[in-house]
Amino acid sequence: MKHLYTWSAILAIVLGSVIGDVLLARAMKQVGDVGVLLRQRGAWTVVRRTAGNPNFLLGIVAMSAAFFSLLFALSWGPLSVVAPASASLTFIGNAFAAKIFLHEKVDRRRWIAAGLVAAGVALLAG
């Protein structure tokens, strides 16, 4: 039962993180270049535009769900399982999601990078 809870929570972390990352990335592309905005309009405009963006708000909800799933997972499973499993699966999930939903050109170079980083994180955090 403990394993079931841990891995269900890990799945929830991965889903929440991927959805949150994609929504935040989309929101920030809509907000525009933060550096330019800061110089031309000031910090308040950046905060107002970001906080008023629906994708940002939904992204924060998804990230919060992932965060509480992480707390839930850590209360059941060891960090040495939860951290590498959720982090490396999130990298792979994000590469797929960015290609499908953000229409990023995930070429061979980026697939290899996602795979290497996912494997590296799994080894390092394990």
């Binding site: 990352d21 935040l24 405009t45 994000n94 990078a113 290497l116 590296g120």
Partner: protein
């Protein structure tokens, strides 16, 4: 910090799920959340400049940094397998850094288009109505 805090909080059974929310009152969990907030702000700034599939591998250098700090500042032992992990992450970041940072078209929400400094009369009406909504 989060792991340390949650081990203090203890196991949370499914029938006491709201206890997850009260866990944020633990000082270690709260400090972890503050640092995560800082991370989110910088991460979002980077996302306004580059692709998600560029930013994510690049930020994974944090794992390498933590491992190197643990090795050289805290004198922790790093197993050969973890050195392999560090090499893989570094290799992955090198791979992605060699390519373009942005592959999607420039965003339509250019600051000069959406909120002109001196709005034309028609645009001023639109801006006023949207301002009234907010």
């Amino acid at each position: 910090m989060l792991s340390y805090g949650m081990k203090q909080v203890g196991n949370i059974p499914l029938n006491r799920l709201p206890a997850v929310i009260s866990a944020v009152l633990n000082p270690w969990v709260a400090a972890g959340i503050l640092l995560l907030l800082l991370f989110v702000i910088f991460n979002m700034t980077a996302l306004s400049w580059a692709d998600l599939t560029y930013v994510l591998p690049a930020t994974s250098l944090g794992y390498v940094l933590v491992a190197l700090i643990a090795r050289f500042a805290l004198h922790e032992h790093i197993t050969p397998l973890r050195w392999v992990g560090i090499a893989l992450i570094a290799g992955g970041v090198g791979f992605v850094a060699g390519g373009p940072a942005l592959t999607v078209p420039a965003c339509p929400a250019d600051p000069s288009n959406e909120e002109p400094a001196e709005p034309a009369p028609q645009a001023a009406v639109a801006a006023a109505s949207s301002g009234a909504k907010s």
